[in-house]
C-alpha cells in the first residue's frame, strides 16, 4: 500500500476492483465502512461477481475476467475527454511533459520492437528523448506531439465506452456512471482510494492492470495524498514482509537484486543501478544503492567482505535466467532437473497452477522437505485419496520429510501488514509436540551444513564458512537479534558528511536509520528499508501508542513502518508546487518556508524546496511515470491483452494470444484450451469463511463453509440443466473437479464482442486433508502461465466446461 489501512478513513471514494476486500480482508475493510459512515464516502465495486464487498457498495458493475486494462484505459480516456484531470498535479508531478523517442509507437495491439520469435520486445524505443546534457527533454506546455501526455491521449483513444462494453461486457451506462463518480475525484479536495489484490495480480498481465489504475490515480492527483493511493491488499498477514526481505529468487532484502551472469563483477553490477537524475536537481534516491548493498554484504559476511574483494561480491550467486520463480522451478522439477525441494510454509500442490503437473513434478524429486505448522496436501501428494488425489503411491519414489513448525501465535517477531507497518507480537503459547520455530530449524540445518563444509571443503565453502552468525545461542537465533541485524549497526563511528568531527552513531551502536548507511564498509545492515525498526531507541516495532494528533489516522507512535516510519509514500505530493496542502482539511505536510513539517515523515529531504525537488524521489525523473519507459516487459502503457484462454479474440489483433511476451514453457502451451471445447470463463477466489488451505483444519471454519462449490448464473444453470445444490463436473484442458452448484443471481451472463459469456466462480479452500469435506482447489483446472513481469500465475481468467455430474465422484 502507498497509504495505510487507517488512512482509508480519509477517502471520498473507494474503488474495489481486482480484489474483494470485504471477503478477503474483512478486518481492514472496517476502514471502508468507517469512511462511509463518518465521511460519507462512496464505494464502487467492479467485479465479475456481485461479491460481499458489492453487497455494501453504492454502485456495482460487472466485468469479464481479464479485461481490466480496457476498463481502466477507457476510464483514463473519459477523464481526458471530460477534463477531469488534476492539471496542476499532472503537469508538475508526472512525466506528462517528457518527450518520447520518435521511433516509439503502437499498432495492432503491439508496441514497437516486437520480436515474435523471441516472444519479447526490443524496448530501446520506449525511452525519453535526451538532451546533450543527459537530461530528458520536456515540453511543459504539453503541446509537443511526442510528449507523454499526447502519446497517452492517442494510446487510450480506442477505449471508448462502446469499446469497454464490447470487450469487458460492462454495460455502457454503468461504466459512464462510474466514470462520473471517479471524475469528481480530480478535484484537489476529493480523493479516491484503490483497493486491489490478487484479482489484479493473478493475470498474465497483472502488473499492467495495476499500472492502469496507478496512471488513473496520477491523473486524478490521488497519489501521496490522504485517502488516496494504490493500496495493494496483501494476501497473507506477512506477505509484505516476505517481499521486503527478498524471499524471491531474484531479490535480496530491501528490493536489491541478485546479480545476473551478465554482471560478473561489482563495477558492472553497480553501473546499471545508480541512476543519475533525468532532470536537474532531482534526488534519484537509488544513487545510494551502493550504501545499501555494501551494508548488506557486511551484514552477511562481516570481515570477509572488504573493499579489496568488492565486498565479497563473488559470494553472491549469479542468475543465469531472470528468476527461478515457482513456475520455472516446477517446470525444471517436471523435467527431472531438481533433486531436493525445500517447501517452507507453502502448499504448492494446491497453490500452484496446473495440479497435474505439480504432482508429476513432485514425483520426480528425490527428497521433499515440508516445513509447516499444519498437515498439507503437498506433504501427502503421494497418498491416494480416491478422486481427490488419484495417485499410485507405489509409483512414487520421492522421500518426504515433514518438519512441523510453530504457527504465528507461537512465535515472537514482527508481522508486516499491507500498510508496511512492522508490528511486533509476542508468543501466546509454546509450539505443540515436536513443532519447532522455523529459525531453530534453519539454524540446525545451517550449522550442520557448515560443519560438513569445514570438514570436507567442497566446491566453494567460503560463503558458508564466512557467513556472519553472531547469535548468543548459535542454534537459536532470537527474534530480537535478527531484527537488530536487519536494522543495522555501525562497525566504525559514523560521522556527519558535512562535519566529519561530528559522530552520528558510535561504533558498535545500532544505526538510527538507512541515512547513516555507508558504502565504505563502516556499516552493516541486513535490510535497508527496515533500518530504524530497532535502533538505540529500542524496538520501535513494539510501540503501542495509538494516539493520533493528526486526526488522519497517521498513528506515528504505533509500531513502526518502513521506510523511516513514513506512513504515506510520496506524501510530499499531498501538497502543491508551493508546498501548500491540496486539501487544507487533510493537511499531512506543508512547507514552512524552510523545511517540510507535518504529521508524517516527509518523503523527501526535509529541506528540499518545493518547486525544485519533485516528490517521486525514487525515480531519476523526480516525477511519477504515466509512461513507464522500458521498465516493464510488456509495454510502457497498458494495452488490452486477452487472457491466454479467452472466449473472444483480441479486438486489436486476432493473431495475438494472451500477453505476447509472457513466458510460456512448451509443455504448458500444449495444455491451453480453446473456447470451442471450453466455452465458459472461470475465475478463482477466496471466501471470507476461510484462509487459503489452512482453516479447513479448524472445525469452526469448516462448519461455516464445509464443502467445495462452484458459482454459476441462473441462466447457465438453466442452459445446462444444473440444479441448485446439485453436483457438477467442471473440467478444463488440464483437469477436472466435482463440486456442488451454487446457482445465483450474483453472476449474470455478459455480452462480449457479440457473444454471451458465462462466468464460473471457483473458490479455493478445499483439499484432501483437514476437517472440512474433501474437495479440490481451482488449480486442478488453471493454466501454468504467469505475468510477463513477475510470473504470478493466471488464476483469475481461464476456460472450463461444466455439466451436471453423473455418478458418484464425490466422496
Amino acid at each position: 500500500m502507498t497509504n495505510s489501512w487507517t488512512d482509508i478513513k480519509n477517502t471520498d471514494l473507494v474503488i474495489v476492483m481486482g480484489g474483494n476486500a470485504a471477503e478477503a480482508h474483512p478486518c481492514g475493510f472496517k476502514w471502508v465502512t468507517e469512511a462511509k459512515h463518518h465521511r460519507g464516502a462512496k464505494l464502487i465495486v467492479v467485479d465479475p461477481r456481485f461479491t460481499r464487498t458489492a453487497s455494501v457498495s453504492d454502485y456495482y458493475a460487472p466485468i469479464r475476467p481479464g479485461t481490466d486494462i480496457t476498463f481502466l484505459m477507457g476510464m483514463i480516456r473519459w477523464m481526458i475527454e471530460n477534463d477531469k484531470v488534476q492539471w496542476s498535479y499532472v503537469k508538475a508531478f508526472t512525466n506528462a511533459s517528457f518527450l518520447v523517442k520518435e521511433e516509439f509507437g503502437w499498432s495492432d495491439g503491439l508496441f514497437t520492437g516486437y520480436d515474435e520469435e523471441k516472444r519479447d520486445y526490443d524496448r530501446s524505443s520506449w525511452e525519453y528523448q535526451l538532451g546533450e546534457d543527459g537530461f530528458a527533454l520536456t515540453d511543459p506546455t504539453l503541446q509537443h506531439p511526442r510528449c507523454v501526455w499526447n502519446l497517452l491521449k492517442a494510446h487510450v483513444d480506442a477505449y471508448t465506452p462502446e469499446m469497454v462494453e464490447r470487450v469487458c461486457g460492462t454495460p455502457k451506462e454503468r461504466f459512464l456512471k462510474i466514470a462520473e463518480m471517479i471524475g469528481e475525484c480530480s478535484s484537489p479536495t476529493k480523493t479516491m482510494t484503490s483497493m486491489y489484490a490478487l484479482g489484479w495480480t493473478q493475470h498474465s498481465k497483472g502488473s499492467q492492470n495495476i499500472r492502469g489504475m496507478a496512471m488513473l490515480q496520477l491523473i486524478l492527483g490521488n497519489i501521496g495524498v490522504p485517502g488516496g493511493g494504490m493500496n495493494a491488499l496483501r494476501g497473507h498477514s506477512n506477505i509484505q514482509g516476505l517481499t521486503d526481505i527478498g524471499l524471491m529468487s531474484n531479490l535480496i532484502p530491501g528490493y536489491l537484486n541478485i546479480p545476473t551472469e551478465k554482471e560478473p563483477d561489482w563495477e558492472t553490477y553497480m553501473k546499471s543501478r545508480q541512476f543519475k537524475p533525468l532532470l536537474p536537481g532531482q534526488t534519484s534516491y537509488w544513487q545510494n544503492y551502493s550504501k545499501f548493498m555494501v551494508s548488506f554484504q557486511k551484514s552477511m559476511w562481516g570481515d570477509a567482505a572488504t573493499a579489496e574483494n568488492d565486498w565479497a561480491y563473488h559470494y553472491l550467486p549469479k542468475l543465469d535466467v531472470p528468476a527461478y520463480d515457482m513456475l520455472r522451478m516446477f517446470e525444471l522439477m517436471d523435467q527431472g532437473k531438481v533433486n531436493l525441494y525445500f517447501c517452507q510454509g507453502f502448499n504448492p500442490l494446491l497453490a500452484l497452477s496446473n495440479r497435474g503437473k505439480n504432482t508429476s513434478a513432485l514425483s520426480k524429486l528425490k527428497l521433499l522437505v515440508v516445513m509447516d505448522p499444519l498437515q498439507t496436501e503437498t506433504a501427502r501428494f503421494w497418498e491416494n485419496h480416491g478422486a481427490f488425489n488419484d495417485v499410485d503411491p507405489s509409483a512414487i519414489q520421492t522421500e518426504v520429510i515433514e518438519l512441523p513448525t510453530s504457527c504465528f501465535a507461537e512465535d515472537e517477531g514482527a508481522l508486516v501488514n499491507s500498510g508496511r507497518w512492522l508490528q511486533w507480537h509476542w508468543a501466546a503459547a509454546e509450539p505443540p509436540g515436536q513443532a519447532k520455530h522455523d529459525t531453530w530449524i534453519m539454524a540446525q540445518i545451517f550449522l550442520r551444513v557448515r560443519e560438513l563444509y569445514a570438514a570436507e571443503g567442497g566446491a566453494f565453502p567460503d560463503p558458508i564458512l564466512n557467513l556472519t552468525w553472531p547469535y548468543a545461542d548459535p542454534s537459536t537465533p532470537m527474534p530480537d537479534e535478527l531484527a537488530r541485524e536487519m536494522n543495522g549497526t555501525a562497525l566504525a563511528d559514523v560521522t556527519d558528511p558535512a562535519d566529519p568531527t561530528k559522530v552520528l552513531t558510535a561504533a558498535g551502536k545500532q544505526v538510527k536509520s538507512f541515512a547513516e548507511l555507508r558504502d565504505d564498509g563502516s556499516t552493516a545492515c541486513g535490510c535497508w528499508i527496515y533500518s530504524g525498526c530497532f535502533n538505540e531507541d529500542g524496538n520501535n516495532m513494539a510501540r503501542r501508542d495509538n494516539s493520533d494528533p493528526s486526526g488522519l489516522g497517521v498513528h506515528s507512535n504505533w509500531a513502526w513502518s518502513w521506510p523511516l516510519n513514513r506512513r504515506t509514500l510520496y506524501n510530499r505530493a499531498s501538497a502543491d508546487l508551493d508546498g501548500k496542502p491540496w486539501d487544507p482539511e487533510r493537511a499531512l505536510l506543508s512547507w514552512n518556508g524552510e523545511r517540510w513539517e507535518g504529521f508524517d515523515v516527509p518523503d523527501i529531504a526535509p529541506t528540499a524546496k518545493p518547486g525544485e525537488v519533485m516528490p517521486f524521489i525514487m525515480n531519476p525523473e523526480g516525477v511519477s511515470r504515466l509512461f513507464s519507459r522500458g521498465m516493464m516487459r510488456d509495454g510502457p502503457f497498458p494495452t488490452h491483452m486477452e487472457p491466454f484462454e479467452s472466449p473472444v479474440q483480441n479486438v486489436f489483433n486476432d493473431r495475438m494470444r494472451g500477453n505476447p511476451v509472457a513466458r510460456m514453457f512448451e509443455s504448458d502451451a500444449a495444455t491451453l484450451g480453446t473456447s470451442d471445447e471450453f466455452p465458459f470463463v472461470a475465475t478463482s477466489y477466496r471466501l471470507t469463511e476461510h484462509f487459503h488451505y489452512w482453516t479447513k483444519h479448524n472445525k469452526v471454519n469448516a462448519a461455516m463453509q464445509p464443502e467445495f462449490f462452484v458459482e454459476i448464473s441462473e441462466e447457465l444453470a438453466a442452459e445446462k440443466g444444473i440444479q441448485r445444490g446439485g453436483k457438477v463436473r467442471v473440467w478444463s484442458k488440464r483437469g477436472e473437479v466435482w463440486a456442488k452448484a451454487l446457482v445465483t443471481k450474483r453472476i449474470k451472463p455478459l455480452t462480449c464482442d457479440g457473444k454471451t459469456v458465462h462466468v464460473v466462480g471457483i473458490p479455493l479452500h478445499w483439499g484432501f486433508v483437514g476437517a472440512a469435506k474433501k474437495g479440490w482447489g481451482p488449480n486442478s483446472l488453471t493454466p501454468a502461465v504467469g505475468d510477463a513481469n513477475i510470473e504470478t500465475p493466471e488464476f483469475k481468467a481461464f476456460l472450463v466446461n461444466i455439466e451436471p455430474a453423473t455418478g458418484e465422484a464425490l466422496a
Binding site: 469463511e689 469452526v700 469435506k773
Partner: protein, 333 residues
C-alpha cells in the same frame, strides 16, 4: 466506554472492555420476569435497557459473529454440506445461536440487484413470547436490562418456547433435551463485556450499548442511508412484541420480510397469548390447555413436542395453577 462505577451495564462493545476480573453483575437479583411463575427478584435493580444494534448496511456477511458465538459459548456445530447457498450451518441449531442469512433481491424500484445479508438470532423481545409460552418455572427469565435468558437447568425441553417465539429462533437439542438460543452473552454482559459477536464484528455492523444509545446510533445510520437513496431506511424495533433488545438498521424498513423472512409485524401467536397471557383468566387457559397444545403443535412443526412433553407440561402448568393461584407471570407488560 466500559464498566465505569456509575454504570450498571457495559455501554458498548466497540471500545476496549475491562481486563480486570470482576464479579458477575447480572443474575437472579435482576430477574423481573420468570416463566411459569418462577422466582423473580424481590427488589430488582432498575438496570438501564441494553440493546444490540445490527446494521445490515454495514454487514459484509463474513460470519465472524457466528464463529465468535461458537467459540464463546463452546458449541459444536456440525461440519455439514453445501446445498447451493451461502448459509452454513443451514439453519439455527442448538449448537449455532446466530446465523447469517443471505437473500438475493432484484429491486424492482431501482432495477439494481441487492444481496441482503442479515444476522439472525434471538431478538430479546421486550414482551418475550418464549417466556410466556414456557411451562417450566424459571426456565426463561428476563433481567431488568431487557435480556431474555434461558436457564437450562430449569428447562424441560418441551419446545413450547419455540411455538411462542414470533421469530422462530429457539432450537431444541435432541441430545441435551433443552432448548438453546442466544443469551445476548448475558455472562459477558455480567462482567462488563459486550456480546462476543459484537466484539468480533470487523465492520462494527454489530454494536452493543444502552437501548437509547443504539437508537441514536441507528438514527445516524438511517440518515446516511437516506442520503444514499434508501428512502425507506429505518430501524426495526417491532412494537408488536413491545420492541426488542436486538434491533436492525434496514435499508428497506418498509419491507422487513425481504431479509430472509424477518417478520413484517411480529406478534406473539394468539394461541400463546390465549394460553398464558395476562389478559386471559387463568382458569380458561388451564381448561383449554390440551386443545391449545395440539393447535400449537400443528402450527409449529419445529417444536418437536412429544406427547410425553405435552403431558409433563400440562401437569406442570396445572400444578402451578393449583399451587400458587397466581398468574403464571408477573403480567407487567
Amino acid at each position: 466506554m466500559t464498566m465505569a462505577p456509575d454504570l450498571d451495564s457495559p455501554r458498548t462493545a466497540v471500545a476496549n472492555p475491562p481486563v480486570q476480573p470482576m464479579e458477575s453483575n447480572l443474575g437472579q437479583g435482576d430477574v423481573v420476569r420468570s416463566s411459569a411463575g418462577g422466582p423473580v427478584a424481590e427488589n430488582p435493580r432498575d438496570l438501564t435497557d441494553v440493546a444490540k444494534l445490527i446494521d445490515v448496511s454495514k454487514c459484509i456477511g463474513c460470519k465472524a459473529c457466528q464463529t465468535a458465538c461458537v467459540e464463546w459459548n463452546d458449541t459444536h456445530p456440525e461440519i455439514g454440506i453445501n446445498v447451493g447457498i451461502y448459509e452454513n450451518p443451514l439453519d439455527l441449531t442448538p449448537e449455532m445461536y446466530t446465523l447469517m442469512r443471505f437473500t438475493e433481491y432484484d429491486n424492482p424500484d431501482t432495477g439494481d440487484f441487492e444481496w441482503l445479508i442479515r444476522k439472525d438470532g434471538c431478538m430479546h423481545c421486550v414482551d418475550p413470547g418464549c417466556l410466556k409460552a414456557c411451562p417450566a418455572p424459571g426456565a426463561i427469565v428476563q433481567y431488568s436490562n431487557g435480556i431474555v435468558d434461558f436457564i437450562s437447568e430449569n428447562c424441560i425441553g418441551c419446545g413450547y418456547c419455540i411455538s411462542g417465539c414470533p421469530f422462530d429462533i429457539p432450537r431444541l437439542s435432541p441430545t441435551q433435551h433443552v432448548v438453546k438460543k442466544c443469551t445476548l452473552c448475558s455472562d459477558r454482559v455480567a462482567v462488563g463485556q459486550g456480546p462476543a459477536c459484537a466484539k468480533a464484528c470487523p465492520t462494527q455492523a454489530i454494536t452493543f450499548g444502552t437501548k437509547d444509545d443504539m437508537t441514536a446510533l441507528a438514527a445516524e445510520r438511517i440518515e446516511d442511508l437516506k442520503s444514499r437513496g434508501y428512502d425507506n431506511a429505518g430501524l426495526y424495533d417491532p412494537q408488536g412484541v413491545g420492541g426488542t433488545h436486538v434491533m436492525y438498521v434496514l435499508h428497506h424498513a418498509d419491507k422487513p420480510s425481504l431479509y430472509s423472512g424477518l417478520p413484517d409485524d411480529p406478534k406473539i401467536s394468539d394461541v400463546v397469548e390465549g394460553w398464558k397471557g395476562p389478559t386471559k383468566p387463568v382458569g380458561i387457559a388451564a381448561v383449554g390447555l390440551a386443545a391449545v397444545g395440539a393447535a400449537a403443535m400443528a402450527l409449529f412443526t419445529r417444536s418437536r413436542v412429544t406427547p410425553q412433553d405435552e403431558a409433563e407440561a400440562t401437569e406442570l402448568v396445572q400444578e402451578e395453577m393449583r399451587g400458587s393461584g397466581q398468574p403464571d407471570d408477573r403480567g407487567t407488560v
